[in-house]
Amino acid sequence: MSRLRVEGVTVRFGEVTAVDDVTLSADPGVTGLIGPNGAGKTTLFDVISGLRKPSSGRVLLDDADITSKGPHQRSRLGVARTFQRLEVFGSLTVRENVVVALESRRRPAKLAAELLARVGIAEFADAQADTVPTGAARLLELARALATDPHLLLLDEPSSGLDRAETDAFGELLRQLSAEGRAVVLVEHDMDLVMGYCDHVHVLNLGQLLTSGTPSEIRSHEGVREAYLG
């Protein structure tokens, strides 16, 4: 049994097939999901988090079929995500952003300070969220997702906008989340991060699953190089 299992998911936008019959799974630990731009990574996240209905296929969480459930129901089952194009609540302060998430799971609001400190943006707590730098906003989305205490965490390019030191700190955080028994799925273009922290990697290309394996297997895979370089 896997924490997350995606079975034969296809997403069509009119004539275009963005995700084509993809089957993959993710277990507790860090799973990488990589591929060139337009490979269908974010669309797959939308399907898993319930924001988009797949044209066909199923999504299973701990072997239970959640395909027909809405996004808020999936959140209550332990799915959380961040967004590639930021979706922070710009009118609220950074702290309030986290409080909204805590309250939706009936957790005490005072945990917000702890979560902000954990991702390293405590200094921005009282700033209005649409004024903070991109890197801090990405970490805010992470803190907000963690506020729901997820079993399955989907991170969409979390490191873009972070400098080297922040990226290292973020990698350390990934290790901790993994040690807490959470399943983290990471869409990322920073290959050092992917190769250094992932237990398992799936490669998408043009909507299809190209291959899966450990980071070292992926590194030596011919097709992956072609997809990225060719």
Partner: protein
């Protein structure tokens, strides 16, 4: 059988005129991405202008038609596009809607100034010709209408599918930035679409004058009919819009033929477009949650619990002092201003915090008023009952329109207001068509009513601020900024909306009870659809994000008719000014009061 045939022809004729109006609406919307709420109002003003030229000045009909449809209307469209709408490109739906409502109200004001109310018969086109179908006579005007509809359909098809400009227009719909890269000029296309759209509104309006009479409001509300037709084509597809328009015309014609002609059913006919609007909305697919980009807005500072308490105590002190100083008439006026202020508080919650633009908020006031009037009781419990009934109806409308958001939702509230006006408020269970109801007051004296209104305003204002500081307030704002993120955090976005809608309706209903008590006599005409629009404008002008904005807006709303009766010449001008101010201020939702706040913080800094 021949009767059926005749009614089918009449239906197609009316539908053809609707199609002309709706085609203009779709062309403008799909090219410029701004929904023109004032589309019907443009048609109305241009129909008046046509009357001026053809009937008053005695120009030949064809020349008057050419001048209005070929000259004045497109020119007017260009002016609106250039000076109001272009600045609003890419602005949130709420802002463009308010600007559109500003244009609409301004146009009605202008029409009332230039053409004071009187009967204005308009000769139909080719009235010496016509053909007989069985017992019925299809006039030359009807044939002209049909011919115009066919010409417009063909012309728009050729424009969009056979010309470079049309291709560029269609490209602009999908990706204006990209189209610009390929050498098209979105501004020019958008201007062109406004010119053609206005011309079609004018043509449709003129064709319909023998049917609907030259009237400020009826013709303005043609936008609901056109919108319903356009919705069949999802505001994009012209062929489906034409199908929708013809369908609407047929349904209305058959309703005239086959429904009984009791007062209720006559009102029902007028409500058909709004009713069909809901049917179409219910059949719409769920609008996807919008993803992409940080959205935020800067409201005025929210005072804490203590500051709210002090502020409300000060406010009550001022009102008590005023109550001691002024006479009964002025006290009554001030009380009315505060009651309007309470209505605006309901919009602070819904529009200011929740980001939902409602064009039907005054209808909930009517619901509260009817409830209190029908209970025939002066007990405070009657006021509570008014709030509860309004809340229930608010929840109902939110549940009905749950699938749609943004523009669709705002226009659904307009349809709802029309429906309630025609089918409920004018029906025997409420006021009756011409009837009015007596309402016993909770307190006899105007001064006591003023203190009651002030007390309720203070409590509701403090309540609204408490909501803003609390859990529901945070969630409302979170849903406004990103409903997609909210959903993935476990917030049930739909329930939040139902809550906000019914809470806001409850406040408006409560105000309705107070309004009815203050007036002592209320009628359906107090709560007409059209009364919603100045309400929205004043809310935005004064500031829809703060309690002080609501108080200021309420007072202004109360002063408007006072000024108008004091200076009759000023009546229409005031409405024009109101429209202009709203169109200009719509970019800053914090409104006039935010200037005071800014001056205050600058002084302290």
């Amino acid at each position: 059988m021949t009767a059926l045939l005749a009614y089918t022809v009449f239906g197609l004729v009316t539908g053809g005129a609707y199609a002309v109006v709706a085609g203009g609406l779709v062309l403008t919307y799909s090219t410029s991405k701004v929904f023109n709420v004032g589309h019907g109002a443009i048609g109305m003003v241009m129909a008046f202008l046509y009357w001026e030229l053809a009937e008053n000045r005695g120009l030949p009909q064809w020349l008057a038609l050419l001048i209005v449809v070929g000259g004045c209307a497109p020119l007017f469209g260009l002016v609106i596009e250039r000076f109001v709408m272009r600045r609003l490109a890419g602005a949130p739906v709420g802002i463009t809607l308010v600007a559109g409502v500003g244009v609409l109200v301004g146009l009605i004001g202008a029409a009332q100034v230039i053409w004071p109310p009187q009967a204005r018969p308009v000769r139909p086109f080719l009235d010496q010709y016509g053909i007989h179908i069985g017992q019925s006579f299809v006039s030359g005007h009807d044939l002209v209408t049909l011919a115009c509809a066919v010409l417009v359909a063909g012309g728009l098809y050729l424009l969009l599918n056979r010309t470079r400009t049309g291709l560029a227009m269609r490209a602009c719909v999908d990706a204006p930035e990209l189209a610009a890269l390929y050498g098209t000029r979105p501004h020019r296309l958008s201007a062109l679409s406004w010119a053609i759209g206005s011309a079609l509104a004018a043509l449709g309006g003129i064709l319909l004058t023998p049917v609907v009479q030259l009237d400020y409001v009826t013709m303005t509300l043609l936008v609901i009919t056109a919108y319903t037709a356009a919705l069949v084509g999802r505001l994009r597809s012209l062929p489906w819009t034409f199908v929708g328009a013809l369908g609407l015309g047929l349904v209305q014609s058959y309703a005239v033929a086959y429904l009984p002609s009791s007062p209720f059913w006559i009102a029902f006919r007028a409500a058909i477009p709004a009713l069909l609007l809901f049917v179409v909305l219910l059949a719409m697919p769920q609008s996807p949650l919008r993803i992409g980009g940080v959205r935020g807005s800067r409201g005025v500072a929210v005072p804490g619990g203590l500051a709210t308490g002090v502020g409300m105590a000060l406010f009550m002190g001022v009102v008590v002092a005023l109550a001691l100083l002024v006479d009964g008439v002025v006290a009554g006026q001030l009380a009315l201003g505060l009651v309007f202020g309470i209505v605006l508080l309901s919009m602070v919650l819904l529009t200011g915090y929740g980001g939902v633009v409602s064009l039907g908020q005054f209808t909930f006031v009517g619901v509260g008023a009817v409830t209190v009037a029908r209970l025939e009781s002066s007990s405070p419990l009657a006021l509570v009952a008014g709030a509860v009934v309004a809340a229930a109806i608010g929840a109902l409308i939110a549940l009905t329109a749950l699938r749609v958001s943004g523009l669709y939702l705002a226009l659904a509230t307009l349809g709802f207001a029309q429906l309630m006006d025609k089918l409920v408020l004018q029906s025997p269970i409420a006021f009756g068509v011409r009837g009015s109801l007596q309402v016993p007051r909770l307190f006899e004296s105007a001064t006591a009513q003023l203190l009651l209104a002030a007390g309720v305003f203070a409590l509701v204002g403090a309540g609204v601020l408490a909501v803003r500081r609390g859990r529901l307030g945070r969630r409302m704002i979170a849903v406004k900024d990103s409903s997609a993120a909210c959903a993935t955090l476990g917030v049930n976005v739909r329930w939040i909306r139902v809550w906000v809608f019914s809470l806001s309706a409850a406040i408006a209903g409560l105000a309705g009870g107070l309004f009815a008590q203050l007036r002592e006599t209320v009628a359906a005409s107090d709560f007409q659809l059209f009364n919603n629009l100045p309400l929205l404008l004043f809310a935005v002008i004064a500031g829809v994000t703060s309690v002080s904005g609501a108080a200021l807006g309420g007072m202004l709303l109360m002063l408007l008719p006072v000024l108008q009766s004091g200076f009759p010449a000023f009546a229409g001008v005031a409405v024009v000014l109101l429209g202009v101010a709203a169109a200009g201020l719509s970019r800053d939702p914090n409104g006039l009061v935010s200037w005071f706040f800014r001056a205050w913080s600058w002084r302290r800094a």
